[in-house]
Symmetry: C2
Subunit: 333 residues, 2 copies
């Protein structure tokens, strides 16, 4: 294992300290329990957005905390769900009197812990809603998940709902919009290499020199099948086909095309994939109205990619375009 770490047990705490040092204008890092809030939290009268999950997927979620996106993020240990006490403390810290939305990726541990945190917060009189994201079309059930996994749509929902919350939408409306984004988004990924969780010290799985894992999960969960590696254009087709088949993406629809890097794949390859994926979308009569390309939801140093396609409403476009000021996503302000 070759990593820039000191000790596996200190990875998350030291990375959080680094984030705090690098972005004092944007975020605050709280410890014991660990969570990140935007620097000006709580924002009075605004619905607060909270997400979280295992570490190792950076910049998701801590990199998306800030004005126009998340109010807080709870980082678990690497590839491990955060605990209910983290989520409860973060919920309390960001509640500005208009309620808190929990945006939860569909992994069983995350879902259970967020449910418990929401119950505890409600007992304290806080107004909490939760939306579970499950956009991954690769497999129905998986190693850590009942139902479909939550992947790239999470980031799109965090941005779009963050815009809506900033514009003054109430908790029920922001939650409804989050469900709408999840319902209109589909994703799938592929890996060319595994990654190594610091605590484990060895790769989470093995792939032969000529193989790829088609339908990979972001923790290295098995996908649909292990197959010989294909040229980039064929990989883009193999990801776009099941995505397009799963939702009525109709001629004339506006879409957001998100080509994500899983960590170890260079940007130059992501753009090669984007080129073909956009071409496929256009050939289905879709208008690619917005794009996102880069390593936004990673699996440590895994070589791989995932594609997310979101069918956009005008409302979603407006909230997507709205200002955002976070460590990893920033525009318009």
């Amino acid at each position: 294992m070759k990593k820039f770490i000191n000790a596996p047990e200190n990875v998350v705490a030291e990375a959080l300290a680094g984030m705090a040092a690098a972005h004092p204008d944007l975020i605050r890092v709280h410890t014991d329990p660990d969570f990140i809030t935007r620097a000006d939290a709580p924002v009075r009268g605004k619905v607060a957005l909270l997400s979280g999950g295992g570490s190792g997927h950076e910049p998701m979620h801590g990199g998306f905390v800030g004005r126009g996106m998340l109010d807080a993020a709870c980082p678990g240990a690497v590839f491990t769900s955060p605990t209910p006490d983290q989520m409860l403390a973060a919920t309390r810290a960001v509640d500005g009197g208009a309620g808190v939305l929990h945006i939860v990726k569909n992994y069983t541990g995350d879902v259970l812990n967020f449910e418990m945190a929401a119950d505890l917060a409600k007992e304290e009189g806080l107004d909490v809603a939760a939306v579970v994201i499950d956009d991954d079309v690769a497999v129905q059930d998986s190693l850590y998940t009942a139902g479909r996994r939550g992947v790239g749509a999470t980031i799109l929902a965090e941005k779009i709902c963050g815009g809506a919350a900033e514009a003054g939408a109430d908790l029920a409306s922001v939650a409804a919009l989050c469900r709408e984004v999840n319902g209109a988004a589909r994703s799938m990924g592929v890996a060319l290499s595994p990654c190594t969780v610091p605590h484990a010290g060895k790769p989470s799985f093995t792939l032969g020199e000529g193989e790829m894992e088609y339908g990979i999960g972001i923790h290295g969960e098995p996908g649909r099948k292990r197959i010989p590696i294909e040229p980039a254009d064929r990989v883009a087709e193999m990801l776009m086909e099941p995505i397009l088949a799963d939702l009525p993406f109709r001629q004339g629809d506006k879409v957001l095309l998100f080509v994500n890097g899983l960590g170890g794949t260079p940007l130059v390859e992501l753009y090669i994939l984007y080129r073909k994926a956009a071409e496929i979308a256009r050939s289905h009569g879709l208008t690619v109205a917005r794009s996102l390309v880069g390593p936004y939801m990673t699996s440590l140093e895994m070589a791989g990619t995932s594609i997310t396609l979101l069918r956009l409403t005008d409302d979603m476009i407006r909230h997507w375009d709205a200002p955002v000021v976070t460590p990893a996503l920033r525009w318009g302000a």
Copy 2:
């Protein structure tokens, strides 16, 4: 070689097509010869900034084209200098009547080709100035370079000079500021793994399981020495010490601390390094006034990092903070 590509000879052209498809609001991709301009180039009356270099370092430089940063970038083949005809065509395309500044990383091929392009442009009556960036303290001469290599300071110079050009500074002033940034910036890098140039099909060098290359160049050029891998905090010290020793960074100085990922190193590790590097800067009496953390100057999928420290003037801070709207760096507008 496991990569999302179609054919090695098409990597750059297909990636450029992907960039054009993903960012039509920000950039235009020109072909034959290949270069990228901001969508609204040429900007009348504004000094234009042009950079370029081998591909494989994305987002540098094409990802930094847009309002407030570069007017154009010329991508060469992977790890290969762009040609004078690319640079000349790009110079012509972005000249808005106030002259063009070439920002050149110190690699012999880049320097020679930019010199030839500048001479040709001047013969056509264009006003061209050039600044060579040479901030890497690792080694004096190197595989592809006489003198010190140009690395992370290039991005800082592009942003700061882009802000100055946008604010109406003339060519001589922008060039002077670029030289000032280069003179006040020092960098050094370390690699944990090599990378594979698509055309070569095999890693550019080999490193033992427990080894790191201290002082690595961004094309895999040898550094100072090959040594056993050290904990992150010691790596941060080993990079910061020669940087701090090379310039009179004085107590009370404001600095920008840039922890760059070379491609295959997860963000979580970069923040661990940032934490320690910031601590070292503070212990020298420096005020870390601005930061940048992420994979901005990469070497394909190389695992590694580089640290750049820039001694800031108030002018530099003002231009750093100014709006920038590019695919990879975006804020304030």
